[in-house]
């Protein structure tokens, strides 16, 4: 792997946000925000440029310190990493612009919100580092960077509820990362390397490999709020400030999912079994239905959106059983792998755009009204047509109606499900969409309903609504280059070893 083209983009993607965050620490309120915004724009621009670079040159690597693995750490930017970094860049830029106007129009006297910019830049550095990392321990460090900054951002609002939720989030996240680290310790003991690729080659099936698979998966499921461990997510995400909620739900939860995807496809090939895939898929299916059902019952808009996150993240897990071949299935005949894979990628993109748009819209409503009771959405189309439009468009993408990105995701997933013959996942996908349609149309019905009394609201800067709307439109625009994207994701030369093997013939369970 070390003979791939080297580039300094991967190192810059981590270093630049840290540098800008450090610089912004030196300034007080206004200067801090300016430095922070410039840092965000630069980081986002760099992310987009490096994405373009990967589409041109294929996988890029950066050998830190010049020490090759197993001793050193390798940063690797393959098409999957580039995709995640690209999404983070686009969504991050729009959220940063939103945050700029959100904070500057708030006229908050205490300087607490100045911390937002440095923490957000550190978080961004952590995310980029996570997507680029090719080393199990480095993944732990980056995920801790993300945890600390994410919880700090979540408690920035200073409300008691946010503090409780933040502490619970932090404790759950520390537990999750410690469980992950125990698995890493066992894997290191049994293979003598921390590099993903080398470990995938060296790992032998056995009790240790199976146990580390279980403990790492459990730890990461806590961190990504998968079904039995979702308890911390709704309060933490709903009690944060609007831009923070958007960051947390659109980007942060994807981090743990990304590690899980990497490990399952590149390291645990030997110790995976058909049953493991089915189990993960089952928790995903339960999360889809249960999360959507809970969302339907909520009375607060941000709680609803937070529960919807649990539901939408469940879809990502439902692609796992499709990627693991049952014993006896010839790898050549597994034509459902590509659709399942692209469905997963589309779900990641669509959810990042739609969910951040929804949280930003919720933020606009809180901004205007001071609260976010769903009842108060009445007559939204009249007084905030753009926000209503954003909610509508993002909602349509969440449901999966054509021609949205969500539709692509669910369509590809269903295609994979039917091609593989694992038809029992299809009802969950459809029921999830139906329930999602339930809560989205509940919101839209209220938005079109006439108001009972005249609503007093604060004026909201136009640009906030534009940002939310752009993000919502983004969840549709990702469909346009679908051909190129699928080709990019499937282009074998730009793939890492594990994902390449998936495209060729899936991960084999030990038979």
């Amino acid at each position: 792997m070390t003979d791939l083209p080297t580039s300094s983009y991967p190192a810059l993607l981590v270093g630049l946000p840290v540098l800008m965050a450090t610089i912004s620490l030196f300034f007080k309120s206004r200067g801090n925000a300016v430095a922070g915004l410039i840092g965000c724009l630069l980081t986002g621009g760099l992310g987009i440029v490096s994405f373009a670079e990967v589409t041109q040159r294929g996988t890029l690597i950066h050998i830190l310190g010049g020490w090759k693995p197993p001793l050193g750490i390798l940063l690797r930017m393959d098409s999957l990493a580039a995709l995640f970094i690209g999404i983070t860049a686009v969504v991050g830029i729009l959220i940063s612009l939103y945050a700029w106007w959100y904070f500057s129009s708030r006229k908050v006297s205490d300087g607490k919100f100045t911390l937002f910019w440095s923490l957000w830049l550190f978080l961004w550095a952590g995310l980029n580092g996570l997507f680029l990392s090719n080393d199990l321990f480095n993944l732990y460090v980056t995920i801790e960077v993300i945890t600390i900054t994410a919880v700090a951002l979540a408690v920035l609002s200073g409300r008691t509820v946010a503090l409780f939720a933040g502490l619970r989030y932090l404790l759950a996240a520390i537990t999750g990362s410690m469980a992950y680290l125990l698995g890493v310790a066992l894997l290191y003991g049994s293979t003598g390397t921390l590099d993903l690729g080398l470990m995938g080659q060296a790992l032998e099936p056995g009790a240790t490999a199976t146990f580390s698979l279980i403990i790492i998966t459990l730890g990461l499921m806590i961190k990504k709020a998968a079904f039995p461990f979702h308890f911390w997510l709704p309060p933490a995400h709903s009690s944060a400030l609007a831009p923070v909620s958007a960051i947390l739900s659109a980007l942060v939860v994807k981090g743990a999912f990304y590690i899980m995807l990497r490990l399952w496809t590149e390291v645990f090939g030997v110790s995976l079994s058909y049953a493991a895939g089915q189990l993960i898929g089952f928790t995903g299916a339960v999360a889809v239905i249960w999360g959507a059902w809970q969302a339907l019952l909520q009375t607060n808009l941000k709680m609803l959106v937070a529960y919807s996150s649990i539901s939408q993240m469940g879809y990502l897990l439902m692609a796992f059983p499709l990627l693991i071949l049952a014993p006896g299935v010839a790898s050549g005949s597994a034509d459902w792998l590509a659709p399942a894979w692209t469905g997963m990628a589309y779900q990641v993109m669509a959810h990042a755009f739609a969910k951040s748009s929804l949280f930003l819209s919720a933020g606009i409503i809180v901004f205007a009204l001071g609260h976010d009771r769903i009842e108060s959405l009445r007559d939204l189309v009249a007084w905030k047509p753009m926000t209503a439009m954003a909610i509508g468009i993002a909602g349509v993408s969440l449901i999966g109606l054509p021609p949205s990105g969500g539709f692509m995701a669910k369509w590809m997933l269903l295609k994979g499900i039917f091609l593989s013959g694992q038809w029992w996942w299809a009802p969950a996908v459809l029921l999830g969409s139906l329930l999602t349609a339930g809560y989205v149309f509940m919101l839209l019905r209220l938005a079109f309903a006439p108001a009972r009394e005249k609503i007093a609201f604060r004026p909201v800067p136009h640009i906030l609504q534009v940002c939310a709307l752009l993000l919502a439109l983004g969840s549709f625009l990702i469909v346009l280059p679908s051909e190129n994207l699928i080709q990019f994701l499937g282009g074998t030369e730009s793939f890492g070893t594990g994902i390449e093997s998936i495209m060729e013939g899936g991960v084999h369970g030990n038979e």
Binding site: L71, F137, Y140, V141, E144, T147, I148, V151, A152, V155, T160, L163, F164, G166, L167, R168, L170, L171, I174, T175, M178, A179, L181, L182, A185, L186, Y188, G189, G192, L194
Partner: protein, 100 residues
């Protein structure tokens, strides 16, 4: 029984005690201490493998990882402490409201 075997067995027991503590304990401080005990278990696991793989000196990579890990774990624990104390200061609560 070799030294490293004793300690690697101890490490998972400590990890399990820590997990149990995080779930079962009610007081914030206890939960935070439980996470540190859990971390101690994980680090013990790393270092016991380092001693097993010793040649002229013990494997230095796990030692370095553990030093990094201890610092990271202590930083998160300090942050958790600050949250817990802030909550206590604002509300007088010592536990999560649904765990009394």
């Amino acid at each position: 029984m070799e030294t490293h075997q004793i300690y690697s067995l101890t490490s998972v027991v400590l990890f399990a005690i820590g997990i149990g503590g995080v779930i079962m304990a009610k007081h914030f401080l206890k939960k935070i201490i439980a996470t540190i005990i859990m971390g101690g278990g994980v680090f013990l696991c790393f270092v016991s493998f380092a001693q097993r793989d010793a040649l002229t000196f013990a494997d230095p990579v796990p030692h370095a990882l553990v030093i990094t890990g201890i610092v990271v774990a202590v930083t998160s624990a300090a942050f958790a402490l600050s949250l817990a104390r802030r909550i206590h200061q604002l509300t007088g609560e010592k536990t999560f409201p649904d765990e009394k």
